[in-house]
């Protein structure tokens, strides 16, 4: 009635409290989402890099290795090469 005590107006504090709660929670949830999407992107990039690293190693290994020529055959080819160079030098003279 007339002498009834009216509660003080503290609604501004209540509003501030709930605004802070929702803002902080939203920031945290957003940070979780952003971190997850960044990590997913990093994971894909790293997977690609790993595949690229693995691919050239296979190419190098794939061509069959040529067996080295025997010593006599190597000597023949070197003699032929020196004869050719001598002929070429004579022509130029």
């Amino acid at each position: 009635m007339f002498f009834d005590e009216v509660p003080p107006d503290t609604s501004i504090y209540m509003v501030a409290g709930y605004v802070i709660f929702f803002v902080v929670t939203a920031i945290y949830v957003a940070s979780l989402f952003i971190r997850a999407s960044n990590l997913s992107r990093d994971l894909e990039t790293l997977k690609e890099a790993e595949e690229e690293q693995a691919a050239p190693a296979v190419e190098v290994a794939s061509p069959p290795r040529v067996a080295p020529k025997p010593r006599a055959a190597r000597a023949k080819t070197s003699k032929a090469r020196t004869a050719k160079t001598k002929q070429a030098s004579r022509k130029t003279r």
């Binding site: 209540m14 709660f21 979780l32 994971l43 890099a49 790993e50």
Partner: protein
């Protein structure tokens, strides 16, 4: 983005809906308190966030013990997840408490035992995250984290029981507290509904965020592992 489990997606939606209902109950359903006015409505989320905050710190301590026993990386991931979420919730608790205290105690902050232990707990876990950043070796980091969270978990029961054991101005709503406490009130039936629903809601939200954060931790560990293998 990696695909989320369907159960987690459902839990995300349920958490949002529960939060909306809890906010409605706290802001509109619960009756206005006679002496403090509207600011008393902050109490519902203040206590609920404090509950989940302390729950997470204890969970981190348990994960720390399990890491030391089993030496499995997943316990380290769980431990960090629990600490991070609890830090956010406990920060909200402290801020909401401070906002409530301004019109009721006429001060934003006092070095009351409850407020002091709460601030120390928050700082202890901020330091935990900062110190972890400084350790590069993952095994050393996990071992350090485990021991730290086991010791840190002691601060949770201390913070909870301090208002029941020591002279304080912080009110105790459930159970008996110091008669000199300022801002005490008796809960009506409507207030109890809003209060217990908020406690339940925040427990569900904690589980949801915890699960999301564990998945993030696993993803982060996978990226770190791949980085090392690419660099080798």
């Amino acid at each position: 983005m990696q695909a989320k489990p369907t159960t987690l997606k459902v839990l995300d939606i349920v958490s949002l809906l529960l939060l909306a209902v809890a906010a409605y109950l706290a802001l509109f359903y619960a009756p206005e308190e006679a002496t403090m006015g509207q600011v008393q409505r902050v109490f519902y989320f203040h206590v609920a966030t404090a509950w989940t905050g302390l729950l997470g710190f204890v969970a981190a301590g348990v994960a720390g013990i399990l890491y030391l026993i089993r030496k499995e990386e997943r316990w380290d991931i769980i431990e960090v997840a629990a600490v991070e979420i609890s830090l956010v919730f406990f920060f909200i608790t402290i801020v909401l408490g401070s906002i409530w205290a301004r019109p009721v105690w006429n001060a934003w902050w006092t070095w009351d035992p409850r407020l002091t232990t709460a601030a120390i707990t928050e700082l202890v876990y901020i330091a935990y995250l900062m110190l972890r950043q400084g350790i590069e070796d993952p095994v050393k980091r996990a071992r350090f984290g485990a021991i730290y969270t086991i010791l840190g978990a002691i601060s949770a029961p201390v913070t909870f029981f301090v208002i029941r054991l020591v002279r304080t101005i912080h009110p105790v709503i459930i159970g008996s507290g110091d008669p000199g406490a300022q801002g005490t009130f008796a809960m009506t039936a409507g207030m109890k509904v809003a209060f217990f629903f908020a406690l339940f809601t925040f427990t569900v939200i904690f589980v949801d965020l915890f699960w999301n954060r564990i998945l993030l931790g696993r993803l982060s560990a996978r990226v770190e592992e791949l980085k090392l293998s690419v660099l080798r």
